[in-house]
Symmetry: D3
Subunit: 317 residues, 6 copies
């Protein structure tokens, strides 16, 4: 029985080595990556037990994704499907001014057909937190419903629900997203949202502190975390707003930074840490993530502790 159950799609991530271009690459590095499993791994590595649930094709590719996630220490509880693709995404790292470019190839996936009745909801009801993100309902009408149903099941079981808005313009329009998400919000306890998404998708205005405050007031969240990329994060909780700066970091891979943040935040909160402390650990996990190639924050609690305490180390020998 895990502390955290996360539901969502995990893709096969295919990226050319270094700064190579997709258009000319002749090798891809292969990894598993998906917002929700990234959060589960970060939470597990920070100190709690996490399970990822999903629907996965019964193919070498589907098994490869599950194998890799298991290697990170989380439990996996998947519905194996004989229909539907394994989602993939192609990722090219460019640096400035080329940027990082993700090309999704996630149509007709097995997970897009996942219905709530295919999952055993007991583990969700017995978990302390259920997590999913705004990517899940963006993937298919079926998943829109499934997301709502699993959130409902979690609430029935006294499980805290946490949700990262994670708006992806390559998946849906701001209008569609706003429409769907605001219907889900009443079932959500902890909301994580990028300041940019609060503005561009939900239509709020103001600085991050104001965004957090408005979101917290307008909906019935217990906690709202507004992330600001390299400028850190803001959390609203019990009417109080807390500030957290980002740690400086040598970025090897920016993908998954927010997921590391959210996973560590949830884990520390479940361990009883207050919001400012949880934010500090979340920022440390996020900083460490950026030094690690791949989607996943393959960190240790000791490393997170070290960053929180000393801001990291140069050479340890």
């Amino acid at each position: 029985m895990s502390d955290l159950v996360a539901f969502g799609e995990t893709m096969l991530r295919l990226s050319p080595p270094g700064n190579d271009r997709l258009e000319s690459a002749d090798r891809f590095e292969v990894q598993a990556g998906g917002a929700e499993s990234n959060v589960a791994v970060a939470a597990q590595r920070t100190g709690i037990d996490a399970t990822w649930i999903s629907k996965v094709p019964e193919t070498p590719l589907g098994r490869r994704v599950v194998n890799e996630l298991r290697s990170y220490g989380i439990e996996t509880d998947v519905v194996w499907s004989h229909r539907g693709r394994q989602g993939t995404y192609y990722l090219e790292h460019g640096g400035d001014p080329r940027g990082t470019n993700a090309i999704y190839d996630r149509e007709n996936t097995a997970v897009a057909t996942a219905e709530a009745r295919e999952f055993d909801v007991e583990p969700i009801r017995e978990a302390r937190v259920f997590f999913t993100s705004g990517i899940t309902p963006a993937l298919s009408p079926t998943l829109r419903e499934t997301t709502a149903n699993l959130l409902k099941a979690a609430r029935q079981g006294d499980t805290t629900t946490a949700f990262d808005v994670n708006y992806r313009r390559k998946l849906w329009s701001p209008d569609e997203a706003q429409n769907t998400l605001t219907k889900l919000f009443p079932g959500i306890d902890v909301l994580v949202i990028a300041a940019r998404d609060a503005r561009d998708v939900l239509g709020f205005e103001g600085d991050p502190r104001q965004l957090a405050h408005q979101l917290g007031s307008q909906f019935d969240f217990t906690t709202v975390v507004v992330t600001r990329g390299e400028r850190g994060a803001i959390a609203w909780h019990d009417g109080v707003v807390h500030d957290q700066e980002a740690y400086e970091t040598d970025t090897a891979d920016p993908i998954g930074t927010g997921d590391a943040f959210t996973g560590a935040f949830i884990a520390r909160r479940l361990e009883g840490a207050d919001v400012p402390t949880a934010l500090e650990y979340a920022a440390a996990a996020a900083a460490l993530k950026r030094t690690i190639p791949g989607d996943v924050a393959l960190v240790t609690r000791e490393e997170i502790d070290a960053v929180v305490k000393e801001g990291g180390q140069e050479i340890s020998r």
Copy 2:
């Protein structure tokens, strides 16, 4: 204006290095591969001018496929599409008894929506040979129609039509295939077919010579080539059956062997070679292909000549 125009899907081929398993691979080698472009390249390298036509997504992945084909020396004339996926396939080399396993991921591709009216048929009408394979109509109902229409256009232009049955059980059932293909046969001049497919898909019986004879008699082909893998090939032409043994080869990659055979056969026939000579070159190109990693017969005419003349060389220095 090319001698040969080939129409079909070219996929991004993703394969783990060496004998590694898809289920645990963390790198994929990336290549472009598709039966029809493989044939075009083999024909070009044997000595004629070839063009590949297709419909391709306007993405880095689609461009990557076109770039690679251009590098092999053929012309590419593609309809760029803003919808539809780039088809991919995952390939695992196992050796005996694991075998070589191809996992297709070619649903919802751009090419599956290609209609005849999107292509300029002039180059097809002006070509000396138009080639496609049984894979193309297997990909979508639209392509079934397009295949028929392009074959018709070729015939109208006095262009010889060549067709490789290339049955793929992962794409359609024998019944569907038989049904579709026999309708296309009247529009085809040169048929290439594996002995196994002649039996299992078309329901013929007998040894390869008998198969060739029956196919040649029952339909209106000018030439029928029946391939038998490591045991060589049989060609029926003008009522005469010709035998060709396969050359011995150290196999680095068996994929594309038949395409190399067909491309070289067409090329030599266009150059005026008689059927036995064309078969000999086809077998040599096929043997060389098997020594080359990837789908494509990146050979030179000199190398094919050398195999035909001397059976290859050990060390050249």
Copy 3:
């Protein structure tokens, strides 16, 4: 609760790519490998639930080994140690006449200090089979005792005990091995032994059928399997001797062949297969293993079934 619990050391395996020499290599491929976890993985992949138990240093290297084993689908239940090394071995593949050379670097390991009282014996008592191999008692006097104690615990719990002699001349002399192993034999139900070891270590004589018979008669085993490398295996059970030929295979990596054999044999026996059937599956798993780089038989049950039924496939597409 697993069907099979396996106890032993799993090393970090470091090998130069391809045929490169250790003496000049500048890259090593890294894998986890150990006889007992190899058996556990093969058994799991064949169809039963398996757990590997061991003692592992709490370092990135120790975690790496555990992560990888988890990725193969087995459970891991390890005592994390703050003392002792992670065992490694260097492996060079040479082909004939250079051969395959393993250099062990497994002194002062954490596992060498593992005592029976450090493990929870409940899972062993509740398992249907407990497995370890002759490598384990060869590693340290402590492990000699622990092996005996865990076998005893298994017997107390009505758990079948299975044991592969796995003599390694780089670890101990034939005399030491014979002395230790014959003391363990009374606690063992199923013995697996190479014909060569039966002769050179235990001092038996005769052909493999005679060796199996003598071993079965002299000690109180229920089953004795005598392996003969490329010439297959012999099993003695209930006084009857069964023969199994090896399948032909393209060898990518011979290491772990015997472990794949043993794991599949145990798994099929637990599933209720009779000895000849289990031998057939064992031989198929062993043949597939040889096509896979690394220690581990990362196969599927479908693949094993296919080899048993059809002897494998050439190209599947």
Copy 4:
């Protein structure tokens, strides 16, 4: 018929991965690179049709160079030679203070024997721009003459001539260069020159604006572009001097920056852009180039547009 025809040597570029040293490297990454083909590719990718002409040995190495250039989308029209080497260069990336070190190995090349009469001058006369650089006449006395003759042919055809001084001290002395280049200048319309070369090779003095002005006045150029590395570029045209800053960039590979600049500048000018606009696009293409490993600006027009408009993007998903 291409808008731009570029003439020059393209070498096989051999570079150790990452920051590895030539002196100890055991792998080289292989690419095609040469100032003139780099310019052709950058121009093509920015939006015009470009052809590269040269003389290349009829060997796998020569074909490899041509294949790669074709993959970038440009046309290639080469004289295949049965004599002369394929030029190569070894490139080591060091970062500060080691720097980037190019070791030329371009003696006795096929291209060094290229005479104007070996080329079909029709495409040059029909092109809108003919481009070559100061590297070409530095390679051999024959090429000195050929450069002059091809420039003359272009002028006869009403083709604009563009020329990048590209002084390479490892090829010739400043005196030789000055002597040769100033004789070519009367046949050149658009001159690109590094400020450093204007001073050290041609002996001009002053700041880049003054250099541009003096060059424009003293010779009969229509346009003079003076590049200043990380400090941008200056263009003199119709007596007016325009300034362009460089964009900030994460440099993966500085080689080819100037060629990307020149190619994009020419392309935009041909499309009718005024000089300041062309400079802006040139600077954007140059900045993007630096993020891409290899000699070549494998960019898209959309990416250049995005840099000009928004200075690039961080993560696109």
Copy 5:
């Protein structure tokens, strides 16, 4: 007969590529690295003849270390041992805030059993400098004695003794280190020490200048160099203190920076350079080292000269 003889352990260094984590790496890059051989190579490359002496297992791993050191141009004179391990270390590069992490695996090594009587002391007595570091006595009680004995032998031969404190907290405690080192100090002429170690291990206080002065006064050193990482170094000699700033550098690998510094300092001093000049070259060698992957300063004297004179170069072609 070498100018410099260095004694110490050289390990096999195993590091994941790029920023990959040990915990998930499936490839390691392999190199030889050890403080004393690093110093020998840096000295040789700066311009003197150097020999490394040690005790090495007669295995492919031991030979691999010796082979690599020979390739760098130094002489190797080793006692081949049939017992004891080859020391290894695992190195993970993380960048900020993860840092660089070295995991030593150097228990039970061959070198740990090396006794002075196993070495031919003639070359030490005839050398101009004998060098070892504080790592050596930290490895075993035997090496503690051997270090003292070899220093004594050097002194008997009128050979200058140089010693880098190189405190490693993963090998011994500050107390053990202080205790051992201060007993060795009377036999040492030139001491190199990090400011941090002077404080934390030896218990001195003050800024680096004060540390150098105190060390020089309290013990009988002729020269004391206090290194301060990115802030340069201080040398005390003949009662005078000299300051040297560090050069700016793009760091590819920080390991071995201090060894490059020390090796170049010793080499220049042996060539007769005064202390400020030697410091300048040492700083230049250290800066160049940081651009080179691996432990070793594979530089040329010309490159060091160039940094001293011009601070390096951007592109040389």
Copy 6:
């Protein structure tokens, strides 16, 4: 002072990984390779001391070659040149029927200008054997003379001269070769020649035994070894002809097989072995070489002994 001094060119060998084609490769593996240094290394590894002398450009490429040869344990004594290229060769492994293809790029090399007076002949005169091959005089008229002069110097010093004909049709015609070589033969004691070269270059006829006999009789050799590839070798000595079969081997790289043979033959002869024994060791070294990627026989004497005694081993652990 070495037992064997070998003189010749060592090239940088550039080869695509596995079976990849030069025409499409984007990585080359880099190694040092040359017949004479290959022989020196094989001799050293078999048990004698060997030195390679040559003329090498003072560039990173030249140093790289020397570094690598040093790593194999031989001494190197080179004339560093500021003019002339480092020779390279491109090697593609194809398997049957594609074969192995070497493309030489060795024009204008530094070594081609090497004159006898540039070398210190003392080491040659003091060596027990001086070795060079027919490749050396094929490289330039200067080297033709130098070869003669160094052979003469050796003879003056009572040094045995050994020579491998090594005819390379890509370097010179049979006529040129015959003309030059027969002039050198009077200065040669031990001749190694492929049966094919004895026929095609020297114009002898008959089976290998007859060839050996005729060569031995016609010129004044003490020993003639006629090699026959996979069919072993024949040695004529003191009028007696000895036969040696080749050992079976899994070939990873056939290049350098003959050099390994010759090096081991010379080494064993110098150690006092009789001709049949030396042939046996030579064949074993040659078989081992074929299992090793690269030009060089990086074997140990123990491995050669094992092949001679037992024909090699399967798995050693």
